[in-house]
């Protein structure tokens, strides 16, 4: 899943954005899939392969972490890190800018 290189200002995929939001509460893989679906009103359905790849990348980057005990128990649980939270914050700022400019310039027409 695209994390746009190392560029902090790059857009997150909506999948990654919703995974990060979901992991404000510790969750395992299947829970994340269900939660993302719920958050997006059934619009975003993450495939298991896509989610698996994204989780490994996000752990590698330190945006989320595997919770202790996850190695033994069959289901691995994940949680967002402080770094992950700051990434969500800057993504929200970016999205806000997009929306503000869209509204400002399209405002009269819509």
């Amino acid at each position: 899943m695209a994390l746009s290189g190392n560029n902090e200002y790059g857009a997150l995929t909506e999948g990654v954005y919703y995974i990060l939001l979901s992991l404000l509460t510790p969750m395992h893989g299947y829970g994340i899939m269900q939660n993302v679906k719920l958050l997006s009103n059934q619009r975003v359905e993450l495939g298991a392969g896509t989610l698996y790849g994204a989780l490994s990348t996000l752990v590698e980057r330190g945006w989320i972490k595997l919770l202790a005990g996850g190695e033994d128990s069959r289901k691995k649980e994940y949680q967002i890190t402080e770094l992950g939270k700051s990434i969500v914050q800057s993504e929200m700022t970016r999205l806000d800018e997009l929306l503000t400019n869209g509204r400002k310039l399209m405002g009269g027409e819509v």
Binding site: G15, Y30, G47, G49, T50, L51
Partner: protein
């Protein structure tokens, strides 16, 4: 009652589509081996099937298989490998199914992960092609060193057939390359 169908596919997505058509008719795949599929009767459209090429690293693949299980997908054939299907269970091409009642079943849902999967397949085809072309050319080169007529014939036959096999794998890789290119182009304008 089970039903055996012999069929050969070169495109895994066509194979997948066919398995889902069979499932829609009430025939669910329970076992498969080289060009041989075993179906059992089930409720019409009970399962959705997906085919995937796993990562090369077995440890990585094992973690992934467990993850798939957690999300309600079942590997076909299921269970631990038996003596009869062990060779097959260790292969990188795997078949999954999930109950249709659990909603749409897709393994890869965004362009990046789809591209990654196609690239794995592309690499396998290309390395097979490369290997065959080298072995084939070595055989043809041996002809020049050999004067004995019998060995010359064997080298010629082996060399030519192996090169044809190599070209076949290149031909198989072309549609995959096109799919990767199309996805990469799509990615330029939307997620």
């Amino acid at each position: 009652m089970s039903q055996v169908v012999r069929k050969f596919f070169m495109d895994f997505e066509k194979e997948e589509a066919w398995l889902n058509e069979m499932s829609a008719k009430g025939l669910a795949l329970v076992e498969h081996s080289w060009a041989r599929y075993v179906f059992e009767e089930s409720a019409k459209g009970e399962y959705i099937y997906r085919i995937e090429l796993l990562e090369k690293d077995p440890k990585e693949a094992a973690g992934y298989l467990q993850f798939m299980e957690e999300t309600g997908a079942e590997r076909v054939p299921s269970g631990t490998p038996t003596k009869a299907n062990r060779a097959f269970m260790n292969q990188r091409w795997v078949f999954f199914r999930r109950k249709a009642s659990e909603g749409p079943f897709q393994i890869y849902t965004d362009a990046d992960s789809k591209i990654k999967h196609y690239q794995r397949i592309y690499k396998v085809y290309l390395s097979l092609a490369f290997m065959e072309l080298i072995i084939g050319s070595l055989n043809l080169m041996l002809i020049m060193l050999n004067t004995s007529s019998n060995i010359y014939k064997i080298n010629l036959i082996v060399g030519v057939s192996v090169i044809i096999l190599g070209l076949f794998f290149i031909w198989l890789s072309l549609p995959i390359r096109r799919k990767i290119a199309r996805l990469q182009q799509e990615k330029l304008i939307r997620e």
